[in-house]
Amino acid sequence: MGPAPAGEQLRGATGEPEVMEPALEGTGKEGKKASSRKRTLAEPPAKGLLQPVKLSRAELYKEPTNEELNRLRETEILFHSSLLRLQVEELLKEVRLSEKKKDRIDAFLREVNQRVVRVPSVPETELTDQAWLPAGVRVPLHQVPYAVKGCFRFLPPTQVTVVGSYLLGTCIRPDINVDVALTMPREILQDKDGLNQRYFRKRALYLAHLAHHLGQDPLFGSVCFSYTNGCHLKPSLLLRPRGKDERLVTVRLHPCPPPDFFRPCRLLPTKNNVRSAWYRGQSPAGDGSPEPPTPRYNTWVLQDTVLESHLQLLSTVLSLAQGLKDGVALLKVWLRQRELDKGQGGFTGFLVSMLVVFLVSTRKIHTTMSGYQVLRSVLQFLATADLTVNGISLCLSSDPSLPALADFHQAFSVVFLDSSGRLNLCADVTASTYHQVQHEARLSMMLLDSRADDGFHLLLMTPKPMIRAFDHVLHLRPLSRLQAACHRLKLWPELQDNGGDYVSAALGPLTTLLEQGLGARLNLLAHSRLPVPEWDISQDPPKHKDSGTLTLGLLLRPEGLTSVLELGPEADQPEAAKFRQFWGSRSELRRFQDGAIREAVVWEAASMSQKRLIPHQVVTHLLALHADIPETCVHYVGGPLDALIQGLKETSSTGEEALVAAVRCYDDLSRLLWGLEGLPLTVSAVQGAHPVLRYTEVFPPTPVRPASSFYEPLRERSSLLPRLDKPCPAYVEPMTVVCHLEGSGQWPQDAEAVQRVRAAFQLRLAELLTQQHGLQCCATATHTDVLKDGFVFRIRVAYQREPQILKEVQSPEGMISLRDTAASLRLERDTRQLPLLTSALHGLQQQHPAFSGVARLAKRWVRAQLLGEGFADESLDLVAAALFLHPEPFTPPSSPQVGFLRFLFLVSTFDWKNNPLFVNLNNELTVEEQVEIRSGFLAARAQLPVMVIVTPQDRRNSVWTQDGPSAQILQQLVVLAAEALPMLEKQLMDPRGPGDIRTVFRPPLDIYDVLIRLSPRHIPRHRQAVDSPAASFCRGLLSQPGPSSLMPVLGYDPPQLYLTQLREAFGDLALFFYDQHGGEVIGVLWKPTSFQPQPFKASSTKGRMVMSRGGELVMVPNVEAILEDFAVLGEGLVQTVEARSERWTV
């Protein structure tokens, strides 16, 4: 009797007040929305649901107080809207450190201070003699080369100061870090310690000794090493308190030299401080060429000398106004959501704080500004200023001895000088990191300017992990390959500068190389920033090759993706040699149609999906050619999901071409219809109304060529019939085309008569098409099927006024009014809204070539989870369209993979209960209209379906979700998406390859009460299954056009016919779930409410039987007979009926 837990969840409350969870909340919390209107009215306002605000007249029109007026004015001036103001306040409350915690941290800091100054000193030894170090601690530095001059002794620090954001009050939760600077006594250091890493060696030894002593202290929960700013020459010591506060705070100890110890002029970016003779063990080439400058090394030394002065600068400026601090905190959240601040060379919170200081000094930020305005100003600045070309400086002095900005540009890719004018704050930031920041800032500005209602949410609350932000990603693994790359790229000076960190040394040149190679295909190339390692004090620091994987993200430009050609210069131009050198053996001389003979590179790609993957070819080719990184080390993740929408036996295309072929055939047909002679009324419009015609059919149709031996011919009606002794023939779904006829006084004014006239037109259409164009046609009362070039179209004649005729109701006074009826709504949907939607989405596909792939993957997934029946085709298409029309905070997807991930994200987080999903097709809805629709939505929430999609054509009713999904089905989808997303992202981010990508497409079967297994012989779409069977049955198709021109078997799908019967017969007792794309199993869930014994009622006897229960006659479902009915109704199709639980036993 053990109920399966997941099943319980899906069953949730079938029949009880329906539960629709706020998205993301997942399972198990309340928040009910009554299924019927009556219930909602009866119940008190449901929790978790927005109610229209009701304020009394007196409240609305009372005299305003001064305070209120001030606040309103402030909101108007300083914030976008009052909602934004409240949201920002809430967010700041959430990330701020509470006073209570501050007190605890302060107490801990005092303890640390006491202990640090009490660490005993050790006598002086040679730097290379490290025998005095105790056994339990290792030097946190790679000492390569080991030999270095100088002596070391430990003395307690002369000064212990807290630096960084903790004092400024701009540090944000979680991960509170407190930076503490330890000033080393002057006695430890010697002259020329700036040279050849001597200072860093001493710094490391200083920390090692400190670590040993602090590690024995019971005060600390953990003592370990890490790197300051990820710089591997500068270790730092992390201290965390013991006990429950362990996660509260991390204190980072950074040793630094005494003030004025280093002469700044020695540390300019043009100077060398790491001698080749020492580093490479060889003297520089005898020709007297100068030592290469070591700008980064110099910066690292300089950074240690200015910790305090930076703090002073920041605290003087930021303490001017609370708004500035708020702004910095918001900016930090903004960076964090975009993963820009973490890791080596990230755009840290410190940098944005300095940027705020810079903008205050240039008067772009005023102290009266609110946090939101500070955020906006900084974003505006980042979006427009390119620090890779025009650096900025906080330094106001015009001292001629200071180096010029140009010097810094020579040495660094991003330049932002501090107030001393000698230190580049952005020394570790790579050009592509900065470009990524800039790109994000631009997107955010666009979002803020668009006045979108939930801008706050998209800007500050939506995470943008790499896999979801970039169209394609690629992993480089193992990292040790980059060492070889450094040698191949001749990066020895950079290695010397970076102290042997080949990953950082190679990163810049590699990204430049790929950016150049990808050219017009690329919008943005970003790289992941390697995580800063933490290690135990008893271990050696991790090697460079163990520092994770390098992941590159590619944001593709769809326009550039269509070309297979890389056009080079003309052969006789001098640039030709350069082009040849860049592309190597791939460059060929080609003669073009205009007569020019040019160098060119041609990539092999026949289909759209292959063209999308050209960047893969480019990347592997260039990396192998220039950086000596073989193909096996490049793990390109761009198309693993493509396999799921590839047609039968297709491996090279994801079906875009087949869809285009079908659409082209439809265009031909519509031309024939326009030109048809002999129709009593002329055709006024021909519109497609089928997923194929908007490029969203999961498996595009192929031309049908039936093999006559496989069918029973019905010659007199020129049709084919399926045969009993053969497997089920191939499934052919006719594509619906709506054909509007012109209005005329001749149309009757009576609904029944209009139907007859339409039927006459259907017959006439079939006749004329056969006569004039020799097409095989077949007319019924409602449609005409036409066979053209192997595609079957279903033409529906429509008369524009017919919905109106169906709506007309005559009141007793003779007044004619229009009232919606079920029939009129259906007709309007099928003949007006569906064609409009189809053409709008068709247009969307022309703008965004990835739309088709995304929509089809999304549908494939929903159906594979057996939930396809609950969602109208159009509703899922619209959700996919929303990803393209409202991509914020992302850019529109350019690959099916990223689009699908965002679909899962949207589905799993969207709060359907309180928001309609806007799909602003063709941008027809204005902001004001959207606001109006939103308030209308709130007022009418209870009457609307659980999932509401608003389009410009459908502003109130959400026609495509009227018939489903129910709250439970939607909830189940939300839960499944929330599970699938992290799983899939983990697979795709795994550098060893994604593994079995189909895992998230396999449905959980253990939640169902009964499983009906079907025989593959009668599943016509068996091969479309997620795990495509190795062998299936012949479906009676020829590979070449055959002699038969009879109408093929249309829409004959036994599982669907079976399901219709099941739902009709047992729909009020159970729910049935099936994957129409080749599913072999039907899942059945009993509805618990219908299993309650009920008193006898003549109208609800269906499938029940009367039992006497305690002397009373009650009705219960006749389960055993029903289970046998399952087999009887599906005779031939059903293999077994597995009853899996005994839950229903009454």
Partner: protein, 276 residues
């Protein structure tokens, strides 16, 4: 489930099958092979005094819970043991249904249905009420199609016959045209002719057509009136108007603020302000 089946097997076969008051229960199965059976609940068809019924009183048997695979023919065959059956009608619900065109109103897929079986003699009803069963829908001599067999034959039946359709459309339209012509002739006759009290009926077809009597048309007229009035109105002209519009603006802001506060409250409850 196993336990339950055993229990049923152990039950005394003579034990009467429970049935609701007024009804008799008859077990019915698809064929010999099935073990469990559904139950038809039958009673003599009767309606309240005065109400009309399509089916003759006393001779009609009313059947509930007819399984989906049971067709009219098989039901007729099963009931024929009780007496000659005149007609069988299967329906989805308890109400009356009119016969409709097979082209324009195709039959829906059957679920569990109700049936009205009309016997030639009243004795058939009483015999049927005493049936013991179990009835078998499909036997070797009279197989009933289900599953693949049924779908294939359904498909064959659904292949349209354009000639029959044309004929039906033609006859319908002829009748319709005739009806319209008659109505028009009648309307023309009445045109401008006063009735007994001297009223003349004004129609759209007259020499001076009037507004059609539709809701949309009257709304249009009202709208035009309203627009005419607003054009004449002065805005923010008097001091009190100024004051009022300012107050209105403030009220709007207050309302918005309340709405926003509510939204924030909701988001806070959902912990939507945790950024990560």
């Amino acid at each position: 489930m196993v336990a339950r089946r055993r229990k049923r097997a152990a039950r005394d076969p003579e034990d009467r099958i429970p049935s609701p008051p007024g009804y008799a229960a008859i077990p019915i199965k698809f064929s010999e092979k099935q073990q469990a059976s559904h139950y038809l609940y039958v009673r003599a068809h009767g309606v309240r005094q005065g109400a009309k019924s399509t089916w003759p009183q006393k001779r009609t048997l009313f059947v509930l819970n007819v399984p989906p695979y049971c067709t009219e023919e098989s039901l007729s065959r099963l009931q024929s043991t009780c007496g000659l059956v005149q007609s069988v009608e299967l329906q989805e619900k308890l109400e009356l249904a009119e016969s409709r065109s097979k082209f324009f109103h195709p039959k829906p897929v059957p679920g569990f249905q109700v049936a009205y079986v009309v016997f030639q003699k009243p004795s058939g009803v009483s015999a049927a009420l005493a049936l013991k069963g179990p009835l078998l829908v499909s036997t070797e001599s009279h197989p009933v199609k289900s599953g693949i067999h049924k779908w294939i034959s359904d498909y064959a039946d659904s292949v349209p016959d354009p000639e029959a359709l044309r004929k039906e459309v033609d006859t319908f339209m002829e009748a319709y045209d005739q009806k319209i012509a008659e109505e028009e002739a009648k309307a023309k006759e009445e045109e401008g002719v006063p009735d007994e009290e001297g009223w003349v009926k004004v129609t759209r077809r007259g020499r001076r057509p009037v507004l059609p009597r539709t809701e949309a048309a009257s709304l249009r007229v009202l709208e035009r009136e309203r627009r005419k009035r607003t054009r004449k109105e002065l805005l923010n002209f008097y001091a009190w108007q100024h004051r009022e519009s300012k107050m209105e603006h403030l009220a709007q802001l207050r309302k918005k603020f309340e709405e926003d506060k509510q939204r924030i409250e909701l988001l806070r409850a959902q912990r939507k302000f945790r950024p990560y």
